[in-house]
């Protein structure tokens, strides 16, 4: 996967244009992850582990750095959870997060256990999503289908897949559909870029690090319009279409195995081969999403 700078990633998602005027002032974002960065400030933090709240796994701190780079004036709150986290602790973390009334919650934790959205974690994400946008990473289980598991399968979650910094689908980005046939992820965003504040050479691949870009956009939109459903739909409907290039290994099957594979493929074709199960509605487009939400806000104000 090609490496790039965070500017490349922000450029293809049209975030650089937004960042000329937007600093994230007034945005409240909760990061539920493996801890906080030593060198960055948070408004408040909760530790649901027995360890120090400082991140030693290079996960939560990276996410915090990405969000702080995009929205330097956003209020960031953090909840440290263990890895792996039992589902009941994740539910507690989501519950704690709601107390800060965040505009967006970043959850770069997920499973590959298929779900129809009726498991407790997904149900709780749906509950939290009424007041905040919950951006959840799709996972790194691709190119296999049905690798997006709970809680990324939640109906109201903004599930984020990954592309490279050139905007091509990352082969390991988990794919839908969900167990009940809904397409997922909702959108894709770039990953594997250099974060200048951290390291001049190191890149961070994975859907975990594409999710904060979506979280940042969701927080801006949510602050401006205050309706999580509209925000999710605006992000989806303004996403840019990207070409789907098959970059996985070639499938070489013969005889009965080939016949069986083709039969299964045709049976599952309409559901599996829906491109939305790979890239959702497409690549995040910050400029267009903000434009739509601002227009909608103006109309709402005029009507009222």
């Amino acid at each position: 996967m090609p490496k790039g700078s965070i500017e490349d990633a922000l450029n293809i998602t049209k975030f650089l244009e937004v960042m000329k005027e937007e600093t994230g002032d007034g945005c409240r974002i909760v990061i539920i992850d493996s801890g906080i960065a030593e060198d960055l400030e948070v408004e408040d933090a909760i530790n649901l582990t027995d360890e120090s709240i400082i991140d030693v796994d290079d996960h939560g701190s990276i996410i915090q750095h990405i969000i702080a780079h995009i929205l330097p004036e956003a209020e960031i709150y953090a909840i440290k959870i263990p890895d792996p986290v039992p589902d009941h602790i994740l539910i507690s973390a989501l519950n704690e997060a709601m107390k800060w009334k965040p505009h967006a919650i970043n959850l770069s934790f997920t499973s590959e256990i298929p779900s129809d959205g009726s498991d407790p974690c997904s149900v709780y994400v749906d509950h939290v999503s009424r007041n905040s946008v919950v951006a959840i990473c799709a996972g790194n289980g691709g190119p296999r289908f049905m690798t997006i598991g709970s809680p990324a399968t939640a109906k109201e979650a903004l599930t984020v897949g990954a592309t490279d910094v050139r905007g091509r689908l990352w082969v390991k980005s988990s794919r839908g559909p969900t167990l009940d046939g809904r397409w997922k992820p909702n959108i894709v965003a770039p990953t594997n870029f250099i974060i200048p504040d951290l390291d001049e050479e190191e890149t961070w691949p994975g859907t975990s690090f594409s999710t904060p870009i979506a979280t940042a956009l969701a927080a801006i939109l949510m602050r401006d319009i205050g309706d999580s459903f509209i925000v999710r739909r605006a992000i989806e409907l303004t996403a840019t279409s990207i070409p789907i290039v098959f970059t996985g290994q070639k499938i070489t099957l013969k005889g009965m195995r080939k016949a069986s594979f083709i039969k299964k493929l045709f049976e599952a074709w309409p559901r599996l081969m829906d491109s939305r199960n790979l890239i959702g509605m497409g690549l995040l487009n910050a400029v267009e999403a903000i434009k739509v939400v601002n227009r909608l806000r103006l109309i709402t104000q005029t009507v009222s």
Binding site: I91, E112, I113, N140, M146, K172, L179, G206
Partner: protein
């Protein structure tokens, strides 16, 4: 991996369609049954849904029997996607 598949007294039952046994014919997800039961995971705790109470297996079965729970989900853990992360 199926989060609704429960093992009780040596038999697999469907946590979503109790008291029916887990099989392709009763699977709520139809043809996906084969994929779902290919691998399994064990859990000590179970969620009574839709109330979201966490209980042990015997209590979960009892709740399904007396109608306290509509369906039961196995408790599981969620983690960061390790396979794409760099080793330190």
């Amino acid at each position: 991996m199926c989060m609704f598949r429960l093992k009780h007294n040596g038999e697999y039952i469907c946590g979503k369609r109790y008291p029916l046994k887990c099989s392709a014919a009763v699977c709520p997800f139809g043809k996906l049954h084969k994929i779902l039961v290919k691998t399994d995971f064990r859990s000590k705790m179970f969620w009574l849904m839709p109330g979201k109470h966490l209980v042990g297996l015997e209590e979960a079965i009892e709740a399904l029997q007396n109608g306290e729970a509509d369906y039961v989900v196995k408790s599981f853990s969620i983690g960061v996607a390790r396979n794409a992360q760099r080793k330190h």
